[in-house]
């Protein structure tokens, strides 16, 4: 499923990302970046409340399809700028992590 389709069906806000054609094949949830480095897989959609700028480098490193920041958490400008530079898709969900993941599961992920 393409990331753009998920954005549309879940009503997510696109914070950073022009190309929303990346394929999503799974999901990963964690706020501790050492866990994400160890556990996330390429093409996962990563749902988190962590907004520190390091999330961009971790997303790049793990080649995840994109980051979903849950609960409308405020993302610092430094994080958004770095994501734009590195071409990392960043989305925002108004829903808490649990609700966001339920919606992703309902889409068949």
């Amino acid at each position: 499923m393409q990331i753009g389709e998920i954005v549309e069906k879940l009503g997510l806000t696109v914070l950073v990302g022009e190309d929303l054609t990346a394929e999503v094949t799974g999901g990963y949830v964690a706020d501790l970046l050492s866990c994400v480095i160890a556990g996330a897989k390429p093409q996962d959609l990563w749902v988190t409340l962590q907004t520190h700028v390091n999330i961009v480098a971790v997303a790049s490193l793990k080649e995840v399809a994109g980051i979903v920041v849950a609960e409308s958490a405020v993302v610092p400008a430094a994080t958004l700028e770095k994501a734009a530079q590195q071409g990392v898709v960043m989305l925002s969900s108004s829903q808490p992590v649990y609700e966001t993941v339920k919606q992703l599961v309902a889409l068949g992920l």
Binding site: D31, L32, L33, S34, V36, I37, Q50, H52, V53, N54, A57, V58, P76, A78
Partner: protein
């Protein structure tokens, strides 16, 4: 050290008092000072969780003993990273405290579950109980907090960076390239040489070690020896950190 203007100071920049809910009730100013001197320390910093209300009491308790006490705080940032913030004067610490209080959720401490938070005087006698819940993340990012502490003239040292609770490397995965902190602290579990080997992102960062004492016997258990060119202060500590391990400081 004959022939040198430098003197070696044994320094422990991470000590809690009874203002930290998780500290033992014995962590009162006169006993902290006595224990620090007994352990051969020359400089300590008082660093309670998001709190600095006991720094004056410890400084008063140390007056005339030869022990230098720097006022500080262990800040918990919004990323859930513990960061030591260390100042020269009580006024700086109080200014910082006012900023931090504005970033804390207005929750009451549940002393039964988390432990009480006591404000005490220089003799260690009870003054008041701090009703506010301190060990919650402040709504400030680590870079912003670092800039703010530096603007006040303080020192910034992320605490026990390798630990899996509130440790920077665990929470943020690696040292943020734009973080302008003065040093990294590792806990007693890790030697600085091991830290450099395990965490390449620390490459350009001075790594020190402190006790993080929550009970008396632990004070000075882990320490850093600084070769200071002037009396202990934020400026002289920073100068030694910048000279690098071996030259300016070492972890014995």
């Amino acid at each position: 050290m004959p022939g040198s203007s430098r003197r070696e100071y044994h320094v422990d920049l991470h000590i809690h008092t009874v203002l930290s809910a998780c500290a033992e009730v014995e962590m009162i100013p006169p006993l902290i000072v006595e224990e620090a001197l007994h352990k051969g320390l020359h400089v300590i910093a008082v660093t309670d969780h998001n709190a600095s209300g006991n720094v004056t009491a410890v400084m008063e308790a140390a007056a005339g003993t030869g022990l230098a006490v720097l006022p500080g705080m262990e800040l918990l940032t919004q990323e859930e990273v513990d960061v030591l913030c260390i100042f020269d004067t009580v006024e700086q610490a109080q200014t910082w405290q006012a900023q931090v209080d504005g970033w804390l959720l207005p929750l009451d401490n549940d002393a039964e579950h988390f432990g009480p938070q006591f404000l005490v005087d220089a003799a260690g006698d009870f003054v008041a109980e701090d009703a506010r819940m301190r060990k919650v993340p402040a709504k400030v990012g680590i870079e912003e907090a670092t800039r703010a502490v530096h603007a006040l003239g303080g020192l910034v040292i992320p605490a026990h960076v390798e630990r899996d609770v509130y440790g920077l490397l665990y929470v943020l995965g690696f040292w943020p390239p734009d973080l302008e902190a003065d040093a990294a602290e590792v806990s007693h579990n890790l030697r600085p040489s091991q830290a450099y080997a395990q965490y390449p992102s620390l490459r350009d960062i001075p790594v020190i070690s402190n006790s993080d004492a929550h009970f008396l016997d632990w004070i000075g258990h882990t320490r850093t020896v600084f070769r200071l060119e002037a009396s202990p202060s934020v400026a002289s500590l920073r100068a030694s950190l910048r000279q690098g391990a071996g030259q300016g400081f070492y972890v014995p």
